[in-house]
């Protein structure tokens, strides 16, 4: 599994977020680089783990620019204005990073087709091309039968897939999925896993970040895992979330391959870490 890392694609520095003066997450530092492998197009798949209420969703809101950080910054690549030689970074703004929230929120007054059409409204494609693109995705993602249905006429899995396609259409290379596996049946879980792979395989810059409570799944899917938890400082547990562990599965030789003993060992290690934070 030889790979090389190129330039930074996500840089989070000393990030903290507070709600009404109460610090929820603090001292978050993340650096992720563009991964390249010979012969295979490989995006980045990053998992965020942590017990309930530790601040995963809050971190995601900061990464997507939906909440303003109290301190620190989130930088992503300014893909539009960058060239191979001259890579520029920018502060994240709302709309830069696709985000599918825990509840798979959609517009309640738009059918799947209308929603996807809306997501493409700023694209430079012609009407015909948009039409084709929507039809292609609807077909590939198994939404053909329900294309003219409203969100409250859809199952959880169908809503979620629609929400993911919407974000693929609207935002660029970055996509954050908050608990994309909760409430799905075995078939849907496979669908979402496949879609995460698909996004990664589409372009080397594509970066998917997701949270989950399923450690095995995270270990088998991601090439980089962050654990968010309450830190213990001087023997005392603090009550804000921060990165308590980072595992680079690429360096550990665990990325892009079937689940084996090495993965299992990591699962145990992460479980212990989560329980103590």
């Amino acid at each position: 599994m030889s790979y090389i890392v190129k330039d930074t694609i996500l840089y989070v520095e000393n990030l903290s977020v507070a709600y009404d003066g109460k610090v929820i997450i603090k001292d978050i530092n993340i650096t992720e680089k563009d991964v390249h492998r010979e012969t295979v197009t490989t995006g980045q798949v990053i998992a965020v783990l942590g017990r309930s209420g530790r601040g995963k969703s809050t971190l995601f809101k900061a990464l997507t620019g939906l909440v303003k950080p109290a301190t620190g910054q989130v930088l992503i690549r300014d893909i539009k204005n960058s060239t191979e030689m001259d890579i520029k970074a920018k502060q994240v703004e709302e709309g830069d990073v696709g985000f599918v929230d825990q509840k798979y929120t959609l517009f309640r007054h738009k059918t799947i087709y209308q929603a996807l059409k809306f997501a493409l409204r700023k694209s430079s494609l012609s009407e015909k091309e948009k039409e084709d693109k929507i039809n292609k995705y609807i077909q590939e993602w198994g939404l053909e039968k329900v294309r003219n249905q409203y969100p409250n006429e859809l199952s959880g899995g169908q809503r979620q897939r629609t929400a993911i396609i919407e974000q693929i259409f609207s935002s660029g290379s970055y996509m954050i999925l908050d608990e994309p596996f909760s409430g799905l049946d075995v078939g849907n879980v496979e669908d979402v896993k496949r879609s995460i792979h698909k996004i990664g395989a589409d372009h080397t810059l594509n970066t998917v970040i997701f949270s989950t409570h399923d450690i095995e799944l995270a270990v088998s899917l991601a090439d980089s895992i962050y654990v968010i938890g309450y830190p213990t400082i001087n023997g005392k547990m603090e009550h804000y979330g921060t990165v308590v562990g980072h595992f680079d599965l690429k360096a550990m030789q665990l990325a892009w391959k079937d689940f084996d003993a090495g993965h299992l060992q990591l699962v145990e290690q992460i479980k212990k870490l989560m329980l103590s934070s």
Partner: protein
């Protein structure tokens, strides 16, 4: 079966739930007959109400109903337009206090203020509409503000992640996304609207309407007629209620509440 009828949260199947409703209707009618079967009775008997209804018809009940419905339609239309404009602008911080202030005015009593309207409006109908628009708007605005407040943050965030600017978010999430609720706000406030109409008509009698009929018959203590009128007003209100619900459900397929 009998035990099921008295088990909390028990669901009763198709024809039987209607039988229960029917049972209660018959009970109400039966009680009415029973209470009014003697020589002296406080409320008018069904026969008296029926005669009262006949008299009302000959006094032009249909015209009065038409007048009331037309007043209702005009004032609700103006009022909802005014309310929507004010409420849709309330997400702008500078205009926010306006909507919540107007909403508070619903505690003002209707009588006593009407005098000020006579200064500005010279026709009785114009004045009726003006009074109703002002008072109804306070209720509509209150309900519409509650609808906006109930929109979960996720819906705004969802729009923002799709590169909607703030105005687009307002348009998609608040205006288009909650249009069906406008019909429900109308329906929910219908009872008070209907009451206001009857009151306003009885204050400014020149234009006729159900309010005038009630007022006149109240003077003469004609209970049969008053009762008949009450029933007419009740049924009209219920019909409008059903109509608004029908509009909402047929215009917005996704509106399932």
């Amino acid at each position: 079966m009998l035990r099921k009828l008295f088990t909390p949260l028990e669901k009763i199947k198709a024809p039987f739930n209607l039988y229960i409703i029917l049972f209660w209707l018959i009970m109400v009618l039966f009680t009415w007959f029973l209470l009014t079967s003697g020589q002296k009775h406080l409320i008018p008997s069904p026969a008296q109400v029926f005669t009262g209804f006949g008299e009302l018809m000959s006094e032009g009940l249909v015209t009065h109903i038409g007048s009331s419905l037309s007043l209702c339609f005009q004032s609700v239309l103006f009022s909802i337009i005014v309310s929507l404009i004010i409420v849709y602008l309330s997400p702008l911080p500078a205009l926010k206090p306006l909507a919540s202030m107007i909403s508070k005015f619903r505690y003002l009593p209707l009588t006593g203020i009407t005098y000020y309207f006579t200064v500005f409006f010279h026709t009785a109908r114009g004045m009726q509409i003006a009074v109703l628009v002002v008072f109804m708007s306070t209720f509509f605005i209150t309900s519409l503000l509650a609808v906006i407040k109930d929109i979960p943050d996720e819906e705004f965030d969802h729009a923002r992640t799709l590169k909607c600017n703030r105005w687009e978010t307002l348009w998609e999430v608040i205006i288009k996304g909650r249009l069906d609720y406008v019909f429900d706000v109308l329906r929910q406030n219908l009872a008070i609207v209907w009451m206001m109409i009857v009151t306003v008509e009885s204050i400014l009698v020149a234009e006729g309407g159900l309010g005038v009929l009630i007022k006149n018959n109240d003077k003469f203590m004609n209970h049969g007629k008053i009762f008949a009128l009450q029933i007419v007003i009740l049924i009209l209100g219920l019909l409008i209620d059903v109509f608004l619900n029908f509009c909402r459900k047929s215009l917005f397929r996704y509106s399932k509440f």
